[in-house]
Assembly symmetry: C2
Homo-oligomer: 219 residues x 2
């Protein structure tokens, strides 16, 4: 029997990682369908995949046959169909601040260093690997500065006080990206604390890139 | 007496434009505070502005003294504090699809050609004006293709059927950007129709860049 939830994901995609965290926090079982963004010219470009995601991006969540793209849209949707535990607060202003934190990552920095942008840097400006890495590091640090400033007065164990919210689903993958590009977290005491706490929570650990079936680390 | 709503905005910022449309659609009066992103080294970098927006971006909406950044967070907030007319549908899946359309613009393409990215292209890769314009055009076209594919089976007079939604607040400013960079809308029949309809609706016209007090066109 087909699962109620199917997730098209790439282990290293931080947008996929956000949705995996949300699914785990809500204890929602799902079928994992890997979409390799590099192999075979990018599996997101197949005709079959374009039918579920016309933007040819991961993740796509399929719920009872209905596809949805964009991590924020998916997590907001999950909060409505499986409300416990809530990831967006009820209060309008608290809720909006959680979305603001999500967007600092989602629209503010992560798009600037995804694969298709790095490809275009190479194609248009002849940027080599080290130039592309420096570009990525620039935006990761930009994001960390914004997040530290925004979250310092708001965070407790998690981004907003001691309660996990959608913001944690966005911020933790950003910090994993920082790790991957050897950006030090030391100048950011709030982010360091959030990272340490999340590292001990199974929903975050199970969602991490290296724990996915399509990771080269998973053997 | 201070207004209930204050909007920090830059006439040409498409994220500010989205929020101006939403405020107009809901008939919410607001104080307009221009933040010039180029003059004086960028007015978004002043200490005063950083207090309302730690990411140093426009727009910021201040409601009864409480600041909020990020266009999607602001429009979702407005939909809660001033629910009529609703910009996000009640139904969970319809709502998520509206957010998905917003994000195709908000995180999918617009961040890739904003001012700070173009500045870094110049600084890191010595990109001249024509190289930066070609970069911008690439992403505007990328967004138009994604939007046309996603919206064609969903749109009527507006992005989702004949009812205005938050998606229209995001898509119309994207089409205005296309105009500015002389990207032809002709290959996109759905987007052409949406643009023609919105051009006759006062809430969209009043929100356009050239209609703002800080536009050089406003004399």
């Amino acid at each position: 029997m087909a699962s109620e939830f199917v997730l098209y994901s790439y282990f290293r995609s931080s947008a996929s990682y956000r949705v995996r965290i949300a699914l785990n926090l809500k204890n929602i079982p799902f079928d994992y369908r890997p979409v390799h963004l590099l192999n075979n010219g990018g599996e997101q470009h197949t005709d079959e995949y374009k039918k579920v995601n016309p933007s040819r991006e991961v993740p796509t969540l399929v719920h009872n046959g209905k596809p949805l793209g964009q991590s924020l849209a998916i997590i907001d949707y999950l909060d409505r169909v499986k409300p416990e535990p809530r990831l967006f607060p009820e209060d309008a202003y608290e809720r909006a601040q959680v979305i603001q934190a999500c967007e600092i990552v989602n629209s503010g920095v992560q798009p600037l260093h995804n694969l298709r942008v790095l490809d275009l840097l190479q194609k248009r400006f002849g940027s080599d690997q080290s130039g592309r890495d420096a570009w990525t590091v620039h935006w990761i640090e930009y994001g960390m500065k914004s997040l530290e400033t925004f979250l310092a007065p708001r965070a407790g164990l998690h981004c907003f006080g001691d309660k996990i919210s959608a913001a944690d689903c966005f911020v933790i993958p950003h910090l994993t990206n920082a790790d991957r590009f050897k950006v030090s977290i030391d100048p950011y005491p709030t982010l360091s604390r959030l990272k340490g706490v999340a590292a001990k929570i199974e929903a975050f650990v199970k969602a991490s890139p290296d724990a996915q079936p399509d990771s080269p680390q998973a053997r």
